[in-house]
């Protein structure tokens, strides 16, 4: 059995090898895939503003496509998306809150990556996807992490493995792209992330 494992330090090292704008693409793709979790949470609880979060993410995609945000607009969007993160002290707890938090936080980290250019911010976005799916799997399967074999059972779950592979695939493509093909690749990754988002938490992903 070959199981993919998340190594944030190695991921950051790989992200260091690509240009800062492509790190934003990587993080934005993660955020795009998680976005339905926020939408679903908001529909269930009436909390949040999924339309605004989607618009902010959409604005980030247009930014990486060449329609740049001003520093003020970027900072404002970071502020707005941070405000959209649900906090357990404010909302009655439902499991969906956890992955909605991760979805909104991934948008914040994608925007932060755009602002800072730092690989660490993109790596945090990827980490949030791992957090979301880890929590989803342990909740749905009611896994106690202190029991023997629990960690292997969690990390080998197909949902988690699938997200690792999507991140791996995106990063490989970003590492391999020629400068003249960047725009086409960005569009491809964006559209693919949207298409894949409906299945991140479900069979068939």
């Amino acid at each position: 059995m070959g199981i993919l494992r998340f190594d944030q330090a190695s991921l950051k090292t790989e992200l260091d090898r690509i240009a800062a704008p492509l790190r934003v693409v990587f993080a934005a793709a993660v955020a795009e895939r998680l976005l339905p979790a926020y939408v679903n949470f908001s529909h269930k609880t009436g909390w949040g503003n999924p339309q605004l979060l989607a618009e902010i993410l959409e604005r980030l995609w247009r930014d990486v496509d060449g329609i740049k945000m001003s520093p003020e607009e970027l900072q404002q969007n970071i502020h707005l998306s941070t405000e959209l993160i649900p906090q357990e002290d404010e909302i009655s707890w439902v499991p969906d809150l956890a992955w909605a938090e991760d979805a909104a936080a991934a948008v914040v980290y994608a925007l932060s990556c755009r602002q800072s250019g730092k690989s660490q911010d993109a790596a945090w976005a990827a980490t949030r996807a791992y957090d979301a799916l880890d929590h989803f799997v342990t909740t749905q399967e009611d896994i106690d992490p202190s029991t023997a074999g629990a960690e292997e059972r969690i990390v080998s779950n197909p949902l988690i493995q699938a997200e690792f592979m999507r991140q791996q695939r995106d990063l490989r493509e970003l590492l391999a792209v020629d400068r003249e093909d960047e725009s086409a690749l960005i569009q491809k990754i964006r559209q693919r992330a949207k298409a894949e988002s409906i299945n991140v938490f479900n069979k068939g992903s």
């Binding site: 790989e14 909740t139 749905q140 399967e141 197909p158 699938a162 479900n202 069979k203 068939g204």
Partner: protein, 285 residues
């Protein structure tokens, strides 16, 4: 002596007779995603069955809320959690069986062994280290389960670096350890979440708040540290419940956020006494 190792640093585990590359396993087919690059045509028996995603399965995350005991001492904010859409059995419907490719997504295929081998140099896979990682993971599972902790950790794991974290963890106070584990989180999560460390006679119990510990936090636990889980429950209560469930006697508690009145009362009900806004001791009776 904080970072000493019990084995020489040039120690190399013996990987003789161990296959370093899992040539007979197809993670793409098992997990149902497309491989990243075009590959060679597959044998007929590995072709997907052309089943698309199940429309009934595409409504985003929706799970059964974990059953919470009615007697939970701390159930923050929500005495009656909102219903969720899935009421099926706890087993995952998406757990594929070996060879089951019915859930493979659009455009997916399989991988030739060479492609699997290529993954060996990748940051997510690092198959070259897999035997070592598997042994470490096995050891982690053993030591985080109090039922195994006293019996199963033997010298065979020392050479794999299992003892260095133990030495370091044991020399760190609970408050500092709580901060260390909390700081594994990203900046946003650090502001929003809580981490608690409860010293007991069975080991250190480590807990998070409503959403419990993150996977990276759990990975940061060392020998003798036990991950607790209790969704919707404050970190302090999660740790104390875990102690009670394994028959452990608490001695000291440290939390990364101010202990709330409900948790303070719970600490006192366990014989504890607050020593600051974020710490408590449990004097021996």
């Amino acid at each position: 002596m904080d970072d000493y190792s019990l084995v020489p640093v040039d120690h190399q585990p013996d990987f003789e007779n161990v296959s370093l590359v899992p040539v007979d396993y197809d993670p793409y087919a098992a997990a149902g995603v497309a491989p990243p690059v075009p590959i060679q045509p597959q044998p007929a028996q590995n072709q997907p069955t052309a089943n698309g995603p199940d429309p009934a399965q595409t409504s985003g995350p929706a799970v059964s809320a974990p059953t919470a005991a009615a007697s939970d001492p701390v159930q923050p904010n929500n005495p009656s959690p909102a219903p969720t859409s899935s009421s099926g059995p706890p087993t995952l419907a998406n757990q594929q069986q070996p060879g089951d490719v019915s859930a493979v997504g659009p455009g997916s295929g399989g991988l030739v062994p060479a492609k699997i081998a290529e993954l060996g140099s990748d940051f997510y896979n690092q198959s070259i280290l897999k035997p070592l990682r598997d042994l470490r993971a096995m050891g982690h599972d053993l030591i985080t389960d109090p039922a195994y902790f006293l019996h199963a950790v033997g010298p065979s794991l020392v050479g794999l670096g299992m003892s260095a974290p133990a030495a370091r963890v044991g020399s760190v106070g609970v408050a500092e350890r709580a901060k260390e584990i909390h700081n594994v989180l990203d900046a946003i999560a650090r502001r929003m979440r809580t981490t608690a460390v409860l010293e007991t006679d069975a080991g250190r119990i480590v807990a998070g708040g409503s959403r419990d510990l993150s996977p990276l936090q759990r990975a940061a636990l060392g020998r003798g540290e036990i991950a607790a889980k209790a969704p919707r429950t404050h970190a302090e209560a999660t740790a104390l419940k875990k102690a009670a469930s394994i028959g452990a006697t608490p001695s000291e508690l440290a939390v990364t956020r101010t202990i709330c009145p409900k948790c303070a009362a719970l600490v006192e009900s366990f014989g504890g006494k607050l020593t600051s806004r974020t710490t408590a001791v449990f004097p021996r009776r």
